[in-house]
């Protein structure tokens, strides 16, 4: 089963498994429930590992290769544990035109991570998104689920350094 370290929800494993089971049951354990189930897995555990893929494959009666194929096809699914905090920088057109690249570079300088990576101490994951739909406020970033807009590199640094201070 997905190991308990590195996941963000902090709930015990069986509570999280119950969430996953509930989703599968809601769709009658049909193979077509696969994507919805993987969404719940990711929500509950923070990422999707091989153990849980096997479990989902068994319950929904689909080959493991298919579960893996679906989990890797869609950008939204993570196969690796994420950091304690996540920072999703929008790289959609509007944000790109307004300097999203600068934000990514700034975060890279500060933490040493590239998009898609997590810091060695697992404190922060840097991700990118293809448009958050907040283009009017470009450039936009999601900090731990909260969207913030019209950001400059100093704003981003302030948020990230704020996390660090809270941690210590």
């Amino acid at each position: 089963m997905a190991s308990e370290t590195g996941t963000s929800s902090g709930q015990p494993v069986d509570r999280r498994l119950k969430m996953v089971e509930a989703t599968m049951r809601r769709y009658g354990n049909e193979p077509s429930a696969l994507i919805e189930t993987l969404h719940t897995v990711q929500e509950a555990f923070g990422y999707i590992d091989e153990e849980i893929m096997k479990y989902v494959a068994a319950v929904l009666n689909v080959p493991l290769s298919k579960v893996y194929g679906v989990a890797t096809f869609y950008h939204f699914f993570n196969l690796k544990p994420q950091g304690k905090h996540t920072c999703v920088v929008c790289t959609g057109t509007a944000c790109y035109i307004k300097g999203a690249q600068n934000l990514i570079e700034t975060i890279g300088h500060e933490t040493g991570v590239k998009p898609g990576e997590t810091t060695a101490d697992r404190s922060l994951s840097l991700l990118t998104a293809r448009c958050l739909g907040s283009c009017g406020l470009a450039p936009a970033v999601v900090f731990d689920g909260d969207v913030a807009g019209r950001l400059t590199p100093p704003d981003v640094l302030q948020r990230i350094r704020g996390w660090k201070e809270h941690a210590s």
Partner: protein
Amino acid sequence: MHPDELLDLIDKENEARSRWKHTIHICTAAGCLSCRSDALKEAFDKEVAAKGLAEVCAVKGVGCMGTCNAGPMVRIEPGGIHYGPVAPEDVSEIVMSLDGDPISRLLCKESAVFSSRQHKIVLENSGIVDPERIEDYIASGGYTALSTALATMSPSDVIAHVVQSGLRGRGGAGYPTGLKWTTVAKTGSRRKYVVCNADEGDPGAFMDRSVLESDPHRVLEGMAIAAYAVSAFHGYLYVRAEYPLAIKRLAKAIRDAERHGLLGNNICGTTFKFGVQIRLGAGAFVCGEETSLISSIEGNRGAPRPRPPYPAEYGLWGHPTLINNVETFANIPPIIRNGGAWFAKTGTEKSKGTKVFAIAGRVNNTGLIEVPFGITLREIVFDIGGGIPEGRNFKAVQTGGPSGGCIPAEFLDMPVDYESLASVGSILGSGGLIVMDDTSCMVDVAKYFMEFSRSESCGKCLPCRTGTPQMYHILGRISEGGGTRYDVQLLEELCDLLKNTSLCGLGLSAPNPVVSTLRYFKDEYEAHILDKTCPAGVCAMASGRMVRQ
């Protein structure tokens, strides 16, 4: 809910409304929420209660008012006063001033220009109704189109109105909606599906998001009318997972509509039944393509398949399926309410009605607008959009996202409709408009879109799978100062190849940004290749110059 119960509910709502002397509308769509409009609404609630005004003054969370870059937005009725941006510190002053003059310091500068050239059909309720209260939608005339259709019209009457309206699909290709409905209605199958495409994969576009967050019932009503017209009993809303607020509001809207007998069994007291489920996307642009969307709803990887057969005949689990975009469905209730002929009065000869655009990029007023077809790009960018900031010069407007192209200044006076945009090598697409000024490099923009197509290619067919990375590398070489004239020729050949041999729309249209920038901004390519300079100062050239401010 029977039609007369609907009327009773409207009376009750209106009576409640008549008690309010003032209504404070606060935008609770995603844009303003990200500027903490939730805290603002709380502050208003508290202030109104503290001043003992709770009996006469309503505080209402509403959808997007359009002027997203001035958010958080507040509108006071009566008076139609728009304030923005508003901070919690301003709340008590606003409440104090309700009976007096507006506070000029807080007035939203953008709102006047923003509204003058607009014409709202799809967004008629946006910023007015509370998206989380079905009663509010009903009191604004919601679900009357559905109940009227069920009570007084046959499915073919409904389709006749849609055909007469001239409505074309708003998801990109502009296929006539009435024709699509006719095809699905004609198929003999007993099992059919209605699917709403709310994947909105175009980066830079947020029209569908805004409609879903601001007025979710309108989309459900449109879907239910469509289901009645084509005799389908089940529907899916395929929404991208990146839109959590839209998903939450849709889920609530579905529950509320079921509770009021407007979805589910015996809708409006008739024998018609229609149920809707939400399915989440998972961040794959290609899933907006209809066959790939179907495959994704079935729980598979979202790879397209060759058409025909079209989903209208062979869709979800092999059954006839009607797929329309969010905005297409959102146009349906007003068409049924007012008739197809009414709708056809707006717009141009071949493009009827209005279009919602998301305007963003290097322009003063960013946000959401709805304008009649036939308006010029200049009116959109300079009148409504307020022109280019910091005294810079307009360079191009990019329409249609990764499938579209860049339109230069010489076409600013062209009317906006499906055909005109296609005639200059772009497309209307779903309605994202990105304005660019002289700080944008067109080679870089082409490279940006090619990177997008490359990473979103599903890999099923060879031209797209291997062609997009090739094009991306060539553009990369040019932007780094290592390009030759031969590279341009190679690019042109690859564009041609992809356009003629790819399996789905992604590969077929991936060359568009390159073709259009080569056509209108060849001088910029030449500057990169011959002079090894980037006129806009964006690309890292051989000289080591690397400036991006």
